[in-house]
């Protein structure tokens, strides 16, 4: 399995590049599916984690830990399983580039 991993990585990159070519707004659209709970563009209105402006690595680590079950959750372990690696990567990248509410990034 280990030998396949780099190949899978390349494949994922190609797939993600193809997806981005299909619609340049894919990351924005996917991130918008989080906004119901986490606020428009991840600027939480309160009571939920702020995603806007969080480092991409940190967001991605959280999402993958939710998905694997390593990070305890009430609901995110179930929701994160609905997104592919490429989609989670796009989402984390999108929120990382947003300025948090009320402050410059």
């Amino acid at each position: 399995m280990r030998r396949i991993a780099p190949l899978a990585g390349v494949l994922a990159l190609l797939l993600s590049a193809a997806a981005q070519a299909a619609d340049p707004h894919l990351a924005r659209n996917l991130a918008a599916t989080c906004a119901n709970c986490h606020g428009t563009d991840g600027r939480s209105a309160g009571g939920m984690a702020v995603l806007a402006g969080e480092p991409k690595d940190k967001l991605l680590a959280s999402l993958t830990a939710f998905r694997s079950g390593d990070k305890p959750a009430t609901i995110m372990h179930q929701i994160s399983k609905g997104y592919t690696d490429e989609q989670l990567d796009l989402i984390a990248g999108y929120f990382a580039a947003i300025k948090p509410a009320g402050g410059a990034k």
């Binding site: 619609d23 707004h25 918008a32 119901n36 709970c37 986490h38 609901i75 929701i79 609905g82």
Partner: protein, 427 residues
């Protein structure tokens, strides 16, 4: 005709020329911003969200007019807490003024007719609005014609649905308050699909919670037309049988056939049930303006749409959102889902108005929190991704699920969910 066309057809044609120039740049400078005028009918979870996101994502390039008959938005989610006396109507009421900063024009009126050929809608107060694209997000209307005894204004004044939050919510609360201890509250549930699958069971719990704390001799009788509890079955069954043992009685396969409004009696196939407070949630279909504008319907009730754009499959330039559509497999009719439909439609409309194709990989997800008492909540969640083979959004296997048990942490998340989704649509 066409009195309100300050950004009408001429502007659209000029915009279209600009669009081809932008389309030429597509790929190096990103997508065009889109032009034209979109009229949105209905300012609920779907309509308000699509108005905001079209404006936001087109950077104001697309003009948006939102037509809503009510002065303010009143949320169905959390309204069962108002029924239980745990919240006030003012806690679930939000004005539309927050949409002004996006350049959205909010018109308090009702659209009474759609001319799809001329691309014009007629307003009840008089005048027409021309559109390049029309988004209908009218929610549901009730099929009172299936319940002759309830098919009059007088009967509907006594026997409430409270399935659209607002004055009915307050009126049903008053009926519950006026009911003497030892009385029976009966709630009838129509066959699925209806708005908010877990909503009736949450309502049964919240009314039982009120009775348990304030009128302990009273009963909640649930008359469900369905074969079993439609949503979060295991969790609700446990709550009914344990937390509300002796208070809630649940009767499946008990379809309401008619209502004797004067005697507050539910007429079932083999039985008549008299209640002190009778709360009838009637069968539903797409809201009038969507159901009666010549759009293709499924089962004569729900609008058939294309899942890449939320566009009507029969009528160009008309998109339909929320509870009014024929849902994709396992997709609930919920406010959360309507908000997700709105973002799918907004992304597609902004692309289409810029001469670009819609995304070929839309994804939507749902979260629904139900209160079982003032503090404890259970959820159901799901994720639905577009499948090119069936041309539908399909539930993603292995994703989604329900709470392990009612818990206070999700009680806090349930309220935070409401705060955030209201902000996502209205501010």
């Amino acid at each position: 005709m066409s009195q309100h066309t300050d950004f009408g057809r001429r502007g659209f044609i000029q915009g279209a020329l600009g669009v081809s120039a932008m389309a030429a740049l597509y790929g190096c400078a990103g997508a065009g911003k889109g032009k034209g005028h979109v009229v949105v009918v209905g300012g609920g979870f779907g309509g308000a969200t699509v108005a905001k996101y079209i404006s936001m994502w087109s950077n104001g390039g697309i003009k948006v007019t939102l037509v809503e008959r009510n002065a303010a938005f009143v949320s169905c989610p959390i309204s069962n807490l108002v029924l239980a006396g745990e919240k006030q109507l003012s806690d679930i009421t939000i004005g539309y003024e927050g949409l002004a900063k996006y350049g959205i024009k909010v018109v308090q009126d009702e659209v009474v007719a759609v001319d799809a050929d001329k691309r014009v809608v007629r307003l009840a107060k008089g005048g027409d609005l021309a559109y390049d694209r029309l988004v209908l997000s009218p929610g549901v209307d009730f099929m009172y014609d299936t319940l002759p005894g309830l098919n009059s204004a007088a009967a509907q004044q006594d026997i409430l649905h409270a399935w659209k939050a607002g004055p009915q919510t307050v009126a049903l609360r008053r009926q519950l308050e006026a009911m003497p201890d030892g009385g029976v509250y009966a709630l009838t549930i129509p066959k699925a699909p209806y708005r908010c699958p877990p909503g009736p069971y949450e309502r049964a719990c919240m009314v039982a919670h009120y009775f348990k704390t304030k009128k302990p001799k009273s009963k909640v009788l649930v008359l469900d037309a369905n074969d079993e509890i439609v949503s979060k079955k295991g969790l609700f069954t446990k709550v009914f049988n344990e937390q509300y043992k002796g208070i809630i009685e649940y009767r499946p396969q008990s379809e309401l056939r008619d209502v004797d409004a004067k005697n507050r009696t539910a007429i079932l196939e083999f039985d008549k049930v008299k209640a002190d407070v009778l709360n009838v949630v009637p069968a539903q279909r797409a809201g009038d303006i969507a159901a009666k504008s010549g759009l293709k319907l499924v089962n004569g009730r729900w609008v058939e749409i294309d899942w890449l754009t939320m566009g009507s499959t029969s009528t160009p330039n008309i998109h339909v959102l929320g509870d009014a559509i024929f849902p994709a497999p396992t997709m609930p009719k919920s406010g959360h889902m309507a908000n997700q439909h709105a973002k799918l439609a907004a992304a597609a409309i902004v692309n289409l108005q810029a001469g670009l194709p819609p995304s070929d990989a839309p994804l939507v997800m749902n979260t629904c929190y139900s209160f079982v008492d003032a503090k404890n909540v259970i959820h159901v969640a799901s994720v639905h991704a577009y499948d090119p083979a069936t041309k539908l959004v399909q539930p993603v296997k292995g994703a989604g699920g329900v709470s392990a048990a009612p818990n206070e942490l999700e009680g806090q998340f349930g309220l935070a969910w409401a705060k955030n989704i209201w902000a996502d649509m209205l501010t």
